[in-house]
């Protein structure tokens, strides 16, 4: 059964990908959606058995690499952490598959799209069920590949191609760190199997190793390297630049990959490695700071963006920052909890945005929307649910998960924890603000699109609305239902051995400490969310002149935010231009004039010159030929007389 969960999507991908022509569009959709649906149902059953029943298990498929002491198996590891991820991945993926049937109804290559989606799901499941780091890396690269293919799905668009390449390259930077991390793990533990690593982690703590010429704490350096990998995949500050551009892909892709699943792989990786990370406090502090900065930074940018999908993308980036600082302070269950709720409401937001875009014919700029709420009331409602969850309004999913993270940050009573807490509070205001800004700009006010488009705006078909409803249910109830198990009193029984949280001073673990924070800390995020909503209402409904005036008043800041803190420009100048120049040098001087000059081209031109001479000898005169023969004979004889025996 567990094997089926993972491999059904692959089967669907193969059938749709290679036989799409034979089975047709409808066939491909049925096959992939069917496979995903079965996989999701099995995923739910597995969750009940493994997580709720408390029976972690490992399915060993076959030996993969066996070289000396280096043993790698293909194995599916199902513990609570995996089960949570599996249910999130399969359910969201199923919703997106079904949604895509409607969303991509006008596209020419539906089987290809469905195959890519299923392939992605397979890779993602491979990632979360990995039993060792190498298999995890396989899935990691697999989702990277699928992400590349899906961002560049509309390959005739130059921007889509550029975005897909950017995503791939930036991820490669992170992957480089991740690969180094795996090497480091193997060096330290002589194994890449999770069980072996986790068992040996306490013993290894405190060892040092040489890296870049200095002595470092071994676990710290390895953990940071792994975290660099996580940063790349999860778009954390510094390696985040690909995520907004990735919105060039079709909207279902954004929902599945760039909101709900793939980008959370980094979070999953850190949580998975918690038994090791716990012994590397310095690394965790780094994680906290990066996460906190990302949460705030991305939120500030989200305030100024005008593309509906980019706003949500920066929101995703920001929420991932929350998860990371939660991980950093040691509250892994809180992070995973938020991962799950976030998956639901962010997928909901994205798919609703897709529904809006679908309704008004591929218009993504919010400045060209407005007043749509009467036209597409259901989508409007879905958007509200998603936004309420995102802003952390009580009893919606986001409220529970976001609060527990902020409480954990505060409750850690450390410098970085407090820093993360205040950053998170600031980001919460901004989150609420841009969410409602989005709602108001899109659905309220006067329509800013042309009359024709407005008249033809229409509600999406049921095949798209169905998944939205499912996700909305998740966005409303998942927090309330899951709170007790994930982070409440039942957490120890729920997580079992899959996550390790060392006791802090006073003998409490971080979640217990989080529950014991002052009441104002618990209330503050909610209050901040209300403030953000209030400001947004003031600025975009009551006094529509405020945003423009503010932008004019603090123009440098506005531009700074609009241009996304100039990250792209800085990277372009610092890395792209430099490596371009370096490449030019190598190309012009190294390859063209040296290697080619003396190698293939040189030999080729020499051969050509010699060939000219050779045929020039062929004069056509018989006596020349006769002379050549005689000269040949006498030369051979002379040579023999002079040199021969």
């Amino acid at each position: 059964m567990l094997t089926a969960i993972v491999f059904l999507p692959l089967l669907g991908a193969i059938i749709a990908g290679f036989f799409g022509r034979q089975i047709g569009d409808r066939g491909a959709q049925i096959v992939t959606c069917g496979a995903m649906g079965i996989s999701a149902i099995l995923g739910v059953i597995a969750f009940i058995e493994v997580a709720l029943g408390g029976e972690p298990r490992t399915v060993r498929l076959m030996n993969w690499i066996s070289s000396g002491t280096f043993e790698v198996d293909w194995a599916l590891r199902f513990d609570t952490l995996t089960a949570v991820m599996v249910i999130v991945v399969t359910v969201v993926s199923t919703c997106v598959h079904v949604y895509s049937v409607g969303y991509m109804s006008h596209d020419a290559s539906k089987p290809r799209f469905m195959a890519y989606l299923s392939l992605f799901t397979f890779a993602m499941l491979m990632l979360v069920t990995a039993d060792n780091l190498v298999q995890l890396f396989f899935g990691w690269e697999g989702v990277g590949l699928a992400s590349y293919l899906l961002i560049g799905f509309w390959f005739h668009k130059p921007t889509a191609n550029a975005a897909s390449i950017k995503a791939f390259v930036v991820n490669r930077v992170g992957d480089f760190g991740f690969a180094l991390g795996i090497f480091g793990v193997y060096m330290l533990f002589d194994s890449v199997q999770f069980d072996v690593i986790f068992a040996a982690a306490p013993d290894v703590a405190g060892q040092t190793m040489e890296f870049l010429g200095f002595q470092w704490d071994a676990l710290t350096i390895v953990s940071i390297l792994l975290f660099i990998g996580a940063m790349g995949k999860s778009a954390q500050l510094g390696l985040h630049t690909w995520l907004p551009d990735a919105m060039e892909g079709p909207t279902p892709v954004s929902a599945l990959i760039h909101a709900a699943t793939m980008v959370t792989a980094g979070v999953f990786l850190v949580a998975r490695m918690s038994p090791m990370m716990e012994y590397a406090p310095t690394a965790l502090e780094v994680v906290t700071v990066v996460g906190a900065l990302t949460a705030f930074f991305a939120a500030t940018i989200g305030v100024c963006q005008t593309d509906i999908k980019r706003v949500i993308a920066y929101s995703t980036c920001s929420q991932l920052g929350y998860m990371f600082f939660a991980l950093g302070v040691g509250a892994y269950p809180a992070a995973i909890f938020h991962l799950m709720t976030h998956a639901f409401f962010k997928a909901l937001l994205f798919l609703s945005a897709g529904s809006v875009i679908h309704a008004i014919h591929d218009e993504q700029d919010m400045r060209n929307m407005g007043g749509l709420w009467r036209k597409i009331p259901y989508t409007y409602a879905m958007m509200w649910i998603g936004s309420l969850a995102l802003a952390g309004i009580p009893f919606f999913a986001g409220y529970y998960s976001k609060d527990i993270m902020l409480e954990a940050a505060f409750g850690a009573h450390s410098a970085v924890g407090t820093f993360a807490f205040w950053m998170g509070i600031a980001a919460a205001v901004l989150t609420a603000f841009y969410s409602w800004r989005l709602l108001y700009l899109t659905f309220h006010g006067t329509p800013r699109m042309d009359q024709h488009t407005f008249d033809h705006a229409h509600e999406s078909p049921p095949v798209m609305m169905g998944p939205l409803v499912v996700l909305a249910i998740g966005a409303i109830f998942s927090g309330f239902v899951g709170y007790e198990h994930f982070v409440g009193d039942g957490e120890a029984a729920f997580w079992g051995a899959s996550i390790l949280m060392l006791a802090r001073e006073g003998g409490e673990n971080i979640l217990e400490m989080a529950h014991h924070v002052p009441t104002w800390v618990k209330l503050l995020p909610f209050v901040m969310g209300l403030i953000g909503i209030g400001v947004a209402t003031l600025a975009y409904v009551l006094r529509p002149g405020i945003p423009a005036a503010t932008a004019k008043a603090v123009r440098p800041l506005y531009l700074f935010l609009l241009n996304k803190w100039y990250f792209d420009e800085a990277y372009d100048w610092l890395f792209v231009k430099r490596s371009w120049q370096l490449g030019q040098i190598f190309w012009r001087h190294g390859d063209q004039s040296f290697i080619d000059g003396f190698g293939p081209d040189g030999i080729a031109s020499m051969a050509r010159a010699l060939a000219g001479r050779a045929s020039a000898l062929q004069s056509g005169y018989v006596y020349h030929y006769a002379f050549a023969m005689l000269i040949g004979v006498s030369a051979l004889i002379s040579w023999y007389i002079v040199f021969g025996g």
Partner: protein
Amino acid sequence: MIQALAFYLFAAVTVASGVMVISSRNPVHSVLFLILAFFNAAALFVLLGAEFLAMILIVVYVGAVAVLFLFVVMMLDINFVELRQGFARYLPIGAAIGLVLLAEIFLAVGAWTVIPVTADSSITPIPPMNEVTNTHALGALIYTHYVYLFQTAGLILLVAMIGAIVLTLRSRSDVKRQSVDEQNARRPEDVVEVVKVGRGGGV
């Protein structure tokens, strides 16, 4: 003594006429010198006791080949001066190659060492002259031992003949040829027409 004197005389004339063959300006003279060379060579054969070869040489080469040459030279209008153009140009390189080859052959002849095994085999083939006549010995050699080569030579000549015909024989339509059959088959009634010519009119 006399034999030696005769040898040197004939040999000298042979070489001298050989030089004249290639150096004389008039091609007819060349052929005549060639005939002289053949005669002297025949004389040398006689000195060696090979009277059959000597006679064959005169009959075949002088009687047939050289006379054919003479006809060819006289019938074809070959401008030998024109042929010699470029001779001077290629003389140096030609001479150089010739000299090198000559020097090498001298080297080889100078270092002549007959392989011991060879010494025996090279003496035996010539049977004593009083036992076997020249003609008999050649006959045995050519038609028995070397019958294979003899037949091959025949085939070569056949091919040469085919080649000559293929490359040169052509039926020309612009030349009138005699056809005996046609002549014999002619009848007066076919070709003679009797016409009564009217008075005052033409045919």
